[in-house]
């Protein structure tokens, strides 16, 4: 399910945290789902067990998983479906600011929409924060 690029300059534990976070926040794995054991994931991905354990600790600290080496690691967080309103509220000021700036620069509404669409499709990813 996960894969890492050890030859990348990004620490392996960070790659894992990023991928598992993505899987959790997109609902690919659900609350209560059990993540592979440290041993299993280390063997499958051919990476160091301590590196896997560190990624799990980071996810636990972030409140995304719970458990421990003995019981196993379980997904805790669920996508904040009920918080849609809250999330919109936080994004709105940026949208207002963008529209205001676009007006000042003389873009029409259609031009702005086209520009956003093009930017979204170029980045190829709409859900994730940039890393590194």
């Amino acid at each position: 399910m996960f894969h890492v690029r050890p030859e990348s300059g990004e620490p392996i534990y960070q790659q894992l945290v990023r991928q598992i976070t993505h899987a959790i926040t997109t609902g690919a794995v659900r609350p209560g789902d059990r993540l592979p054991t440290v041993r299993q994931l280390a063997a499958d991905l051919v990476i160091n067990p301590n590196t896997v354990a560190r990624a799990y600790r980071e996810l636990e600290r972030a409140g995304l998983v719970e458990g421990g080496p003995r019981r196993g690691t379980f997904v805790k967080y669920s996508p904040p479906a009920l918080l849609v309103h809250e999330r919109r509220k936080r994004l709105q000021p940026y949208i207002d600011g963008l529209i205001a700036e676009a007006r000042v620069l003389g873009f029409s509404a259609d031009e702005l929409r086209a520009l956003i669409d093009r930017t979204l499709s170029r980045s190829g990813d709409t859900g994730r924060a940039e890393h590194g």
Partner: protein, 306 residues
């Protein structure tokens, strides 16, 4: 962190005027896979030989599982397992016969562990060793070593002349074995991509000396290559703490740092630098920076280096 299983303090070995190993402080904790990397002739194999009591240190000391490697080398060799580069096997023996023969040398040898590993790793016990593929032979050697229930596994270029699929399998078995947290591996190799996969700690040796040591993921957070336009003069940047190397091409400078990258970035920007880009560095890039630097230092040619 787990128990300290291997420790060297100022470990050194001189062959005449040549300092093959020069003042190495190495620690290997339980649960860890430590990669010992460096160019050929950097002193990796000599270090391993000293740990096994096969070569006497000319200075410093080392313990493996609490045993002094000089005074208690017999105990070291009994309790730690070693997989050398040139694996000595007996081509005409069958796998089953080899297992019995090998086990007869070691009191802690556990036949049940070996039987389980041979089965799990699908090593055909009736086959003669010369009929096994190289990958299969490497697995057999590892299985035999692990059936002694060692807490420390020392390996010197274990994957040399294995095909990529066999390398993958062997590394996976080593990673899985280490997950039990009461044991550790010291892996000497010049294959950086293997170290980058399964090692959590790395020590880089250059010309016998310890050029770098640390947790690999931490090193990757600190080692960055900053591209920068303008800003402070090259000579000034070279004097900064945490800056490993500075090179310039016209107005464009490349600053390699082993520090909190944000701190150096801030300093560059407050010195008037524009458009600072921060790039990750992988182990190969870090290694090349170090080996070039060390070579330059030894040649006295430190012109563009810190």
């Amino acid at each position: 962190m787990g128990d300290l299983l291997v420790e060297t303090v100022g470990l050194s070995k001189a062959f005449g005027p040549v300092r093959a190993v020069d003042d190495i402080d190495l620690t290997v904790h339980a649960g860890s896979i430590v990669g010992l990397v460096g160019p050929n002739g950097a002193g990796k194999t000599t270090t391993i030989k000293m740990l096994l009591g096969m070569t006497r240190p000319s200075a410093g000391s080392a313990t493996v599982l609490g045993h002094d490697v000089v005074r208690e080398s017999v105990a070291v060799r009994r309790e730690a397992a070693f997989i050398p580069e040139d694996k000595l096997l007996y081509p005409d023996m069958r796998v089953s016969g080899f297992a019995r023969f090998y086990g007869s040398f070691f009191p802690e040898w556990d036949e049940a562990v070996l039987a389980r590993l041979l089965e799990e790793w699908e090593i055909p016990v009736d086959r003669r060793i010369k009929q096994l593929s190289k990958g299969m032979r490497a697995k057999l050697v590892l299985a035999a070593a692990l059936s002694r229930r060692p807490r420390v596994l020392l390996m010197d270029e274990p994957t040399i002349d294995l095909d990529p699929a066999s390398v993958e399998e062997l590394l996976s078995l080593i990673a899985e074995w280490t997950a039990d947290q009461d044991r550790a591996v010291l892996l000497a190799t010049h294959r950086l991509e293997e170290v980058e996969r399964i090692c959590d700690h790395v020590t880089v040796m250059v010309e016998g000396r310890q050029a770098l040591s640390g947790v690999l993921d931490e090193l990757k957070l600190r080692w960055k290559s900053l591209r920068v336009l303008g800003g402070p003069a090259v000579d000034e940047i070279r004097g900064w703490d945490g800056v490993r190397r500075v090179s310039a091409s016209g107005d464009l400078k490349t600053v390699i740092v082993d520090a909190d990258p944000a701190r150096i970035r801030g300093r560059l920007e407050s010195g008037g630098a524009a458009g600072v880009e921060v790039h990750d560095m992988n182990l190969r890039e870090i290694y090349l920076t170090l080996t070039n630097y060390e070579r330059g230092r030894l040649d006295g040619a430190v012109e563009s280096l810190v």
